[in-house]
């Protein structure tokens, strides 16, 4: 261990950048498991283009077999010569299948797919960083990329070769092949996922018999991601593929596709990663453009999964809602306007200014504005309360200014209703308060009843709630004390100015020092 400088000693947390740098240095993982024996040294074969045409096929096969040899890329010094030979051979093979006609004879298919499977299908290694966050962290790159890249390239050229015959290839590119390919989408290496995306798209296009299977397996991956592991690196890529698949769906939509929309795509909105949302919104809008009658269930679904604590996600949801509103039919709009605008009115009143701002931007959209105007008698009563309140008390001046504009727009749409709402605002609030009071009383009566019964009926949770209430009261009291005491830390900190500077980096410190 080297000597630690004073600034570092303060705390480990401040050194995230340093830890990252360390990780980057070794952010290469490989996943080739137990190559049966140590690799045999490869010897270069003659160039395909120099071989007489009668022997080319044989040489092609030999080269494919040669490329089945796997190397350890974590060890960067071993087998350098053989690695280079394999790289050159792969390059040559890529070139060979992309420029030559008539090279894909039937007997070559098993050799080709065998070489591909041996190289790319592998169990992905455990992630270096269990809480890998695609937006924050550097991905672990595949160490054997110099070879794997060429194999992917080769697979792509193979699929795109004009002589390529799906009827022969389907014996090798089958369900099992697809399944293994789909598992690779979990790779942390974005370069690999990008290749996989193109390849899967080609396979989907060329193998009609595999389409339903591919869709079903993608569903399974998504469902597992949503409900079991919450982790799969390739969700965005798979969504991109689906986006273009949905585009090609025939009308009327099959039940399977609707089920995908409602049971997979909408619940997928619970995902943590924000990067997914763009692709999701795209897919959802694709569906709605195909079949507008899906609008109501889709919006209800989004409202069900509306984020409660993550403001950034809420902004994304609002973005998606706007995209949907852009294509919504007026008849569909009427069906969902009430629940939707109740949510929008909550967003407008959100203390996070970005959420409020994003919601208020809806009023800059001409089409949405026209929809609101058409239904002003329904929407204004829903929106009025929040807007009115926010115009008085939001902390952010930009929001207040925006709210004034929105209120003005709404007033112009229906002046009489607006005046009515303004004059009844106070009375409404009072009615609400009264209702709340009544609710409290009702519950209190029930509570009393419960207590008087607790001796009669043996049930596990009796009596607990009332005790909890007492506790709550106590907590409130002590919280007040805490907040009072917190003011103190400021004075104290100023007093001890000497030490305050070093305390900044110290979470444990600041947590307790505040008291």
């Amino acid at each position: 261990m080297s000597a630690i400088s004073a600034s570092e000693k303060v705390d480990g947390f401040t050194r995230k950048s340093m830890r990252k740098a360390q990780r980057q240095r070794k952010s290469q993982g490989s996943s080739q498991y137990r190559t049966q024996s140590a690799p045999v040294e490869l010897s270069p074969l003659p160039q395909l283009k120099d071989a007489p045409s009668t022997e080319q096929q044989e040489l092609f096969t030999q080269k494919l077999q040669q490329c089945c040899m796997l190397f350890d890329f974590l060890d960067s010094v071993t087998d350098l010569k053989s690695k280079e030979i394999k790289r050159a051979t792969l390059n040559e093979l890529v070139d060979y299948v992309s420029t030559n006609r008539g090279v894909l004879v039937e007997s070559a298919y098993p050799e080709i797919t065998d070489m591909i499977c041996t190289n790319i299908f592998r169990t992905l290694p455990p992630s270096d960083n269990p809480d890998f966050d695609p937006e924050e962290d550097e991905p672990t790159l595949e160490a054997s990329w110099p070879h794997i890249q060429l194999v992917y390239e080769f697979l792509l050229r193979f699929l795109e070769n004009p002589d390529f015959q799906p009827s022969i290839a389907k014996r090798y590119i089958d369900q099992k092949f697809v399944l293994q390919l789909l598992e690779l989408f979990d790779s942390e290496d974005p370069r690999e996922r990008d290749f996989l995306k193109t390849i899967l798209h080609r396979i989907y296009g060329k193998f009609l018999g595999l389409r339903a299977f591919i869709r079903k397996q993608i569903n399974n991956i998504f469902l597992r991601f949503i409900y079991e592991t919450e982790h799969f690196n390739g969700v965005a890529e798979l969504l991109e593929i689906l986006g273009s698949i949905i585009n090609g769906f025939a009308l009327p939509l099959k039940a399977e596709h609707k089920q995908f929309l409602m049971k997979v795509l909408i619940p997928l909105h619970t995902a943590k990663a924000l990067s997914l949302f763009h692709a999701q919104a795209y897919c959802v809008v694709q569906f709605l453009e195909k079949d507008p009658t899906l609008t109501e269930p889709v919006i209800r679904g989004l409202l069900k999964f509306w984020p409660k604590t993550c403001s950034q996600k809420e902004v994304m949801f609002l973005g998606e809602i706007e995209e949907i509103l852009d294509v919504i039919e007026p008849t569909q709009f009427k069906k969902i306007q009430e629940p939707l605008f109740k949510q929008i009115s909550r967003c407008v009143a959100n203390p996070h200014f970005q959420v409020a701002e994003r919601a208020l931007y809806f009023w800059n959209n001409e089409y949405i504005l026209s929809l609101i105007e058409e239904n002003i008698d329904k929407i204004l009563p829903i929106m009025f309360g929040s807007l009115y309140r926010i115009s008085k008390e939001h902390w952010n001046p930009t929001i207040v200014a925006l709210v004034y504009n929105v209120l003005k727009t709404l007033m112009e749409m229906n002046c009489t209703l607006f005046d009515e709402l303004t004059s009844s605002y106070k009375a409404d609030r009072q009615r609400e308060k009264k209702k709340e009071q009544e609710r409290d009383e009702l519950w209190q009566k029930l509570e009393e009843l419960r207590l008087s019964n607790s001796t009669l009926v043996q049930n596990n949770s009796h009596g607990l709630p009332s005790v909890q209430n007492n506790n709550n009261n106590n907590n409130n009291n002590s919280n007040n004390n805490n907040t009072d005491a917190q003011d103190k830390s400021a004075d104290a900190a100023a007093d001890a100015a000497l030490t305050v500077t070093t305390n900044n980096n110290d979470p444990a410190e600041s947590a307790t020092c505040a008291k």
């Binding site: 261990m1 630690i4 570092e8 000693k9 303060v10 705390d11 480990g12 050194r15 498991y33 137990r34 169990t123 290694p125 455990p126 099992k176 399944l179 399974n220 469902l223 597992r224 409900y227 079991e228 049971k263 619940p267 069900k304 109740k342 609710r439 009702l442 519950w443 009566k445 029930l446 509570e447 009843l449 419960r450 008087s452 019964n453 009669l456 009926v457 043996q458 049930n459 596990n460 949770s461 709630p465 004390n481 009072d484 005491a485 103190k488 830390s489 004075d491 104290a492 007093d495 001890a496 000497l498 030490t499 070093t502 305390n503 110290d506 444990a508 410190e509 947590a511 307790t512 020092c513």
Partner: protein
Amino acid sequence: MAGADGDDSLYPIAVLIDELRNEDVQLRLNSIKKLSTIALALGVERTRTELLPFLTDTIYDEDEVLLALAEQLGNFTMLVGGPEYVHCLLPPLESLATVEETVVRDKAVESLRKISQEHSPVDLEVHFEPLVKRLASGDWFTSRTSACGLFSVCYPRVSSTVKAEIRQHFRTLCSDDTPMVRRAAASKLGEFAKVLELDYVKSDIISLFTALASDEQDSVRLLAVEACVSIATLLPQEDLETLVMPTLRQAAEDKSWRVRYMVADKFSELQKAVGPEITKNDLVPAFQNLLKDCEAEVRAAAANKVKEFCENLPEDSREQIIMTHILPCVKELVSDTNQHVKSALASVIMGLSTILGKDNTIEHLLPLFLAQLKDECPEVRLNIISNLDCVNEVIGIRQLSQSLLPAIVELAEDAKWRVRLAIIEYMPLLAGQLGVEFFDEKLNTLCMAWLIDHVYAIREAATCNLMKLVEKFGAEWAQNTIVPKVLGMANDPNYLHRMTTLFCINALSEACGQDITTKQMLPVVLKMSNDQVANVRFNVAKSLQKIGPVLDSNALQTEVKPVLEKLATDTDMDVKYFAQEAISVLALA
């Protein structure tokens, strides 16, 4: 009794249901959480005829509300009229068991399992088992997943024809189309096997187990490993070789590291389940392979099991197996490239010394301990230090003390405060084992240095550490070595250090006793009541409250009381608050 039948005039169901329908999720959630209160108000009859149908039909809600509902219904038996009527709870729970969200579904299944026990055998066949069948043949995977958890609770209590049906359903789900259902089935395989008759375990379960263990998805295969433990426990020894071992061997060599990890993770359980003979012949080589696995995750999981595995080896050949097969692998792991592997090993390796005895420990293990004490990763060193007691028993700590000291000093100054915190927590243990002389000479300065650490958590732990040391070494030692230094900090320019003095006094007064507290500590505390920082002043009040019981009444009345009274008129409201609190607690008013 108003509650017994419900009172229409006071609590019309409409009002209660309105509450359950309230627009505000939070209010709905509150109402649902008090569902038992509502049921109580309605009485058992109306709960059955009005409330439950409402819950079954109209609840389409946020998952959070559904989760609360699923939980409530598991405790509802008495509220619907006892075991006789418990089946009324099945319809709402059935719909909850089919929802998408896993936590809701799991909770519904948990509640169903709970109330299944309250069904009479007849009701179980008439009401419960049909529900399980409906779920097992549901269209969407969620209901089939839920069904997997219900087979084992009803199987033991139904007739043999129904049993046959249940087995058939379970078989079907084990080869379900969707991996989610196969995973659910695989995870319940062991539990289901336990309630089956032995013949069916051999005929049905084994084939399902073999199939799941070679599933195309590794997420299914790894769950079969867990089931393997239960299944192997159920079978007679002579069947294990043919029925279980081929699958287990395959799992230990699986191409997916997740499966191998699972084998490593369950290794002790597996070892116990298959018995000593198979352990010797099969598991020892398998364990060696796992310790040498190419994935660090697997090696770490296996390293964690080294001690348990060795402990459970058959006694007659234990030492020989460890020395010739396990120890060489362990030696390699000490210099593993991955720190998690090393630290996993470090957390158990000391345990080997009790198994191997003094001579082997000194000859073979000691060099490994010493190497790990010098490891670059602090966690490794810490894990060694935290397990010193095992070695102490076998060879005495002196053997290690020369290497120990540099390791401790380095950890004590580690940049990560959590590492420093961890080493502090082992100080009392170390002090006990190394003795007071060694401690005074080498470690005392460290303990005092922690008191002025930048991190509060460290200062706090250091205070607590001092208290434990005093408990160990006695008041006289405290008076000579610790108290002067602690009290000296009362004049520190940094108010945080001044407060540390107070915190130390709080911790030490009891262990040091009345004499030291009154003569040495109290004057310092009282003097600090004039501190210019309010935080220090209110901590003086708190300290006086804390040490008050140790003082005699004379000191309390003549010295403490005036100071507290003065603090009670402080300009700062917190100082006032704590001074008044102290006055009332010490009954000085």
